[in-house]
Symmetry: C2
Subunit: 362 residues, 2 copies
């Protein structure tokens, strides 16, 4: 298997080329980082900002951080969160100080979720789920926005560094709750640098790029404060099972959540868009159009860990020896195993919550 | 002396009638509150919102609060601040729990003043000046916005209760620093009700009415939370010595600051607009146009405590027995005494700062 970008192709490649151009991102090269993880090797991580700075930190064992936020509104998470956690895990294993914040103030501002409710949800579900997906609980620093005065203070300080028109240009809308949330996110992204200036990387879905851009703009306007420009790493969306760019709860039959009952997952997989040909005869003769197959995409992005095994599936399906029915069955088997494991791991992780490293604020 | 509105008239009366109509305020009647203070008796307090609710609290000795904020940006204050403090003092003496907050977060958002700098200024100057002007240090609860998580949390919670268009309608502009500051002010105004819902009154210059209106709008949208609508008490501006509506630093020769060197104050008074006639003969014959005299206004609003004495000055000047030169001299004498006293009292009050009741936040 060659280590190139998106080695297995995907019909969505044009969308991502457009995103890279429109947002002015760097294309991700898997060779940049040592021991690239599965998402990096398979082209699911596809772009970034200021990645060389982070590669240098890894290579020279210099201090840097990785940070991500939990939005404790939903009762479930999705495959995008899994990608974020796996990328955090990668940097965590490569020397990064790791920060996970609970965006309870944003949940209050944007959705009216009471702080106590957000806290409960984060402790009962989101944090255990992050640990279940691979976050090292011992090496992670957690905090709640609502307790972090320094983050709130930064939101106030940065307010005059951004105009209303910029908010509108970046977010489309500029309602007060959006503005206060965005300012707070800047505070979060820079918080690990309050005590010590250092590079940091934020792994996100590419739809979160506006926050990164805004933070970088603000840092550049506060040159005197000498914050490092935050780096960012972008992964592709898990495409919807119907073949469109992104799984979305608005189309529940094409969207798998975490956790979800395996029977429901298998039912959805059975109706997914595949790379199958109109007839079995054609399928055997021409082979599958793997780049159109959302079931293969699911296996590639999330369900098959082993590269050799994935390569084998690719070859079998591409050659027509494996049918679309068979690849769906395979995906159902893997998904069932994954969901059962996830449930068990979340339960186990819940027990660790009282021992986690929450920043204590005086 | 009759207790009517603005018993000594003033050429600015039309401006205030317009303000009452435009803003939908209640006209203040001095008989509403027991033992009205000098500003109330003399028509300088001219309007309010929901005043009866506060009068009931005073009469029935029910819990209520008075609250005001210190903006620690300027190095001096002005006569408007003196009026605010005197009204706070009035309610403090009539059973109100008294809160004074230091708006350090707003100073950071709006002016880029570092929190530490704002803290220093407030402790060294603004708080001592408030005490010098009459605030009872033992009966006052102080806090810094930046330390008050509950105030910050309310700013986030209220963000979704106000639209951008409302901010624009209320403030003219809706830049991010303005929005986050206004949301924080709502938090401040309601903070004394967090533990116990009760009426409260905010004495302000009428230019601060937008904050009151916005807070009242937000409270009405959160009926479930059962906050009392904040009441407000409005005092007139100290008019500029050149006769326009409001003293302003942009016209330093017509503006007296607190504290200010008495010599400089007397120099400004000597150039003030008076009620004098073109010739001494006319002045003696027709008497002064007191309602046009900014020097009399200064005596009335701030420098002459005793009603009988003010009445005497009024009669003497009105009748033409007192010349404009003489009233200026009198004002210079009073102002000198006032400024010397103020300096001394600020120095004394500075020594009380370590003993003040600052809310301690865990």
């Amino acid at each position: 298997m060659t280590k190139t970008i998106d080695p297995y192709g995907s019909s969505l490649v044009e969308d991502y080329e457009r995103i890279i151009n429109d947002f002015g991102l760097e294309t991700f090269r898997p060779g940049l980082f040592p021991e690239p993880n599965r998402l990096m090797r398979r082209g699911i991580v596809f772009a970034g900002r200021d990645l060389k700075r982070i590669a240098d930190c890894i290579r020279n064992r210099k201090p840097y951080y990785v940070l991500s936020g939990i939005m404790p509104t939903a009762e479930r998470i999705h495959f995008g969160t899994k990608s974020v956690v796996e990328n955090i895990r990668y940097f965590q294993e490569h020397g990064a100080r790791t920060y996970i914040l609970v965006a309870d103030l944003e949940a209050a501002a944007a959705r009216g979720v009471p702080l106590e409710e957000a806290r409960k949800r984060a402790l009962n579900f989101h944090i255990p789920a992050y640990i279940a997906l691979g976050l090292d609980p011992e090496k992670t620093i957690f905090y709640f926005q609502s307790e972090n005065k320094q983050v709130m203070h930064m939101a106030y300080r940065f307010a005059r560094k951004v105009t209303l028109n910029e908010f509108r240009a970046i977010y489309g809308a500029a309602e007060p709750e959006r503005i206060i949330s965005a300012l707070t996110q800047i505070g979060d992204i820079l918080y690990p640098q309050v005590e010590e200036r250092m590079p940091g990387i934020i792994p996100v879905g590419v739809d979160q790029d506006p926050h990164i851009r805004l933070t970088r703009d603000v840092v550049q306007r506060m040159k005197k404060e000498r914050f490092f420009l935050p780096s960012a790493l972008y992964h592709k969306y898990m495409p919807s099972l119907d073949g469109s760019l992104k799984m979305s709860k608005s189309k529940p039959e094409s969207c798998i959540e975490l956790p979800e009952d395996p029977k429901s997952v298998c039912r959805k997989i059975k109706k997914a868009v595949t790379g199958g040909r109109p007839t079995l005869e054609e399928h055997r003769r021409l082979g599958a159009e793997v780049e159109k197959c959302m079931v293969f995409e699911l296996l590639k992005q999330h369900l098959v860990e082993d590269d050799k095994e994935l390569e084998k599936i690719y070859e079998e399906y591409k050659s027509g020896r494996m049918t679309s029915g068979e690849i769906k069955e395979l995906a159902c088997k893997y998904a069932t195993e994954f969901m059962e494991n996830l449930d068990r791991k979340i339960s186990q992780a819940r027990k660790l919550v009282p021992k986690l490293n929450f920043v204590s604020f005086s």
